[in-house]
Amino acid sequence: MEQDVKKTVPDHDETIIEVRDLRINIKVDEGTLTAVRGVNFEIKKGETLGLVGESGCGKSLTSKAILGINDKKCKASGEIIFDADGLGRVNLLELDPRGKEIRSVRGKQISMIFQEPMVAFSPMYTIGDQINEATRLHITKDKKKSKEISLDVMKKVGIANAEKRYNQYPHEFSGGMLQRALIAMALVCNPKLLIADEPTTALDVTIQAQILEIMKELQKDFGMSILFITHDLGVVAGMCDRVAVMYLGKVVETGTAADIYANPQHPYTQGLLGSVHKIGTKNQDKLFSIEGTVPVAMNLPAGCGFYERCGKRIEGVCNVSEPELVDTGCGHKIACFACTGCPNAKKEGKANE
């Protein structure tokens, strides 16, 4: 593989990407959906950040905003600062979504794996052709060389018989194999950041375990960072260094995976973790469940988005203003008025914003 990408990784700044106050509004017939309402996070080199939340919380929109591939109806504001090779530190949101600059980033420096491999591939072209597309666009125009590179990556992701598979069409692949091919396609340019949007949700547990294992290994080999988007808290626990929990377009809690699982502070995080049954624990009579459903993000009332469903809500506080994400002192940030802070933290809660 071409190694030039790896060498130019700057060593002065460990942070690869920083999302600041990202907001996405979507115009629909009924009005404006405030789908993402001020998301903040950063990802460091070689680290995996898990973005967790239920459907409709804005996690996929956030990830697509990074690549500038959201629908035209979505209006994004805020900053997504990426340390791009050849461009320096740029705000990806300011780049023309059809321009030259973003194209040198998209698919090369930041690439993405999608949820349904069956949909992500075109049925009209062979797998080899589709992996090659990225290689030819970003690495080399030489047909022979690009095939070599593609085959090499296919072998790395564990596709047996890569030479034969190269000339096959997507329908000849099983779901698990296709997901491997998708990962190969994403990794062929040796990206700095890989966005994985529910990469294993459509797969069986045994295949899921294989794919997660491969992703971990490849992360070590390639030294890339991963933004791992999922609703599966079990998968996050095994994959991620840090976790950001999203609710209704906002990050409500973020911290190291160990911290979040051991000391979840935000009532939503607690509810989410409580509603997953752990095998081997004594069967409670009832699973913990969060009452109600996620509200539609349109004309939201003032106050915390979780107010209606929250068991710890304080009337007159939580429904008046919206809590900001506050660092409790140990990197564990919480956006909640009712939380006293992380037990690990020193008592110097300072505002993040």
Partner: protein, 334 residues
């Protein structure tokens, strides 16, 4: 008949599908029984035949062979597969299904009221309209639907609400058995917990028997009394839940358990990876179906199919080496 008696006894169920001159053995010789008031879980990967098995039980498919012995509330024994369709209709009231996808399993052109009422119309055409609506209202309230919204169409409801509609539709006939085919798989975790709790409450209240088909092992472990594991159309292991999860006796179960993601970064299990993919059921391997992917495979396994038998009380396994292997499962707290 009282709680704990056999309500359903499936024997040697075989279901073959024919397509383009190829025969696919979707379910091959599966036997199990379900007791009244219990939840029996069936797990396995996609394509292992668990849905087909569920559909054979309610005779949505006509199985190629086997028996489904059903004990009526009067204690009479009936073979679902022997009786004609007309007689079957009478018993369909007592065995209902809840489906996976709350979006495609409800007719978008019917109001929720009509959807829940439809089984009553089909089975009790003489019932008075008022009586019917009252019954629908009662059931809707039971499953936690707001009864003022019943004149609305399914699109106005969220995924969790729609699944409640599906549950109400299954319950309206007062069934004794409900086959839940991946009934909570499409829901978000917090909603999933709500629906699981609801299923639990309804079971207690009406003494329902569940056949719970799912690929989600955590959910199955939570809800089931006994669990069967399927692989390539065959039942490979069947045991009380705790026994199966703590002391699996089939290598496939062991791998399956080790692949379950655990929501605790400090308790990650050692994975026992399965090599390769599930073989083509139209052309299954010789001997034990699992031998191509089994790490304990011996020569005998590739030649001779193991018998499915009760090796320990209530613990059925189909593996030649089940008794000598010490397989790993989950550690239980108590």
């Amino acid at each position: 008949m009282s709680k704990g008696d056999k309500i359903l006894d499936a024997k040697n169920i075989v279901m073959d599908f024919h397509s383009k001159g190829v025969t696919v053995h979707a379910v091959g010789d599966v036997s199990f029984s379900v007791n009244e008031g219990e939840t029996m879980g069936i797990v396995g990967e996609s394509g292992c035949g668990k849905t087909t098995l569920g559909r054979c039980i309610v005779r949505a498919y006509e199985p190629t062979g086997g028996q489904v012995m059903y004990t009526t509330s009067e204690g009479e024994l009936i073979d679902f597969l022997k009786i004609d369709k007309k007689t079957m209709k009478q018993y369909r009231k007592e065995i209902q299904m809840i489906f996976q996808d709350p979006y495609s399993s409800l007719d978008p052109r019917m109001t929720v009221l009509d959807i829940i009422k439809e089984p009553l119309l089909a089975n009790f055409p003489d019932m008075k309209k008022e009586e019917m609506e009252k019954r629908v209202m009662d059931i809707a309230a039971k499953v936690g639907l707001n009864t003022t919204y019943l004149k609305r169409y399914p699109h106005a409801f969220s995924g969790g609400q729609r699944q409640r509609i599906g549950i109400a539709r299954a319950l309206v006939l007062n069934p004794r058995i409900i086959v839940c085919d991946e009934s909570v798989s499409a829901l978000d975790v917090s909603i999933q917990a709500q629906v699981i709790n609801l299923l639990h409450e309804l079971q207690k209240e009406f003494g329902l028997t569940y056949l719970f088909i799912s690929h989600d092992l955590s959910v199955v472990e939570y809800i089931s009394d006994r669990v069967g594991v399927m692989y390539l159309g065959k039942m490979v292991e069947f045991a009380p839940t705790k026994k199966l999860f703590s002391h699996p006796m089939h290598p496939y179960t062991e791998s399956l358990l080790s692949a379950v993601p655990v929501a605790d970064p400090t308790k990650q299990m050692e994975r026992i990876p399965l090599e390769g993919e599930i073989p083509n059921p139209a052309n299954p391997p010789t001997g034990c179906y699992f031998h191509t992917r089994c790490r304990y495979c011996t020569e005998r396994c590739s030649k001779e199919a193991p018998e499915y038998k009760e090796l320990e009380p209530e613990h059925f396994v189909a593996c030649h080496r089940a008794q000598e292997l010490k397989l790993k499962g989950f550690d239980y707290d108590d």
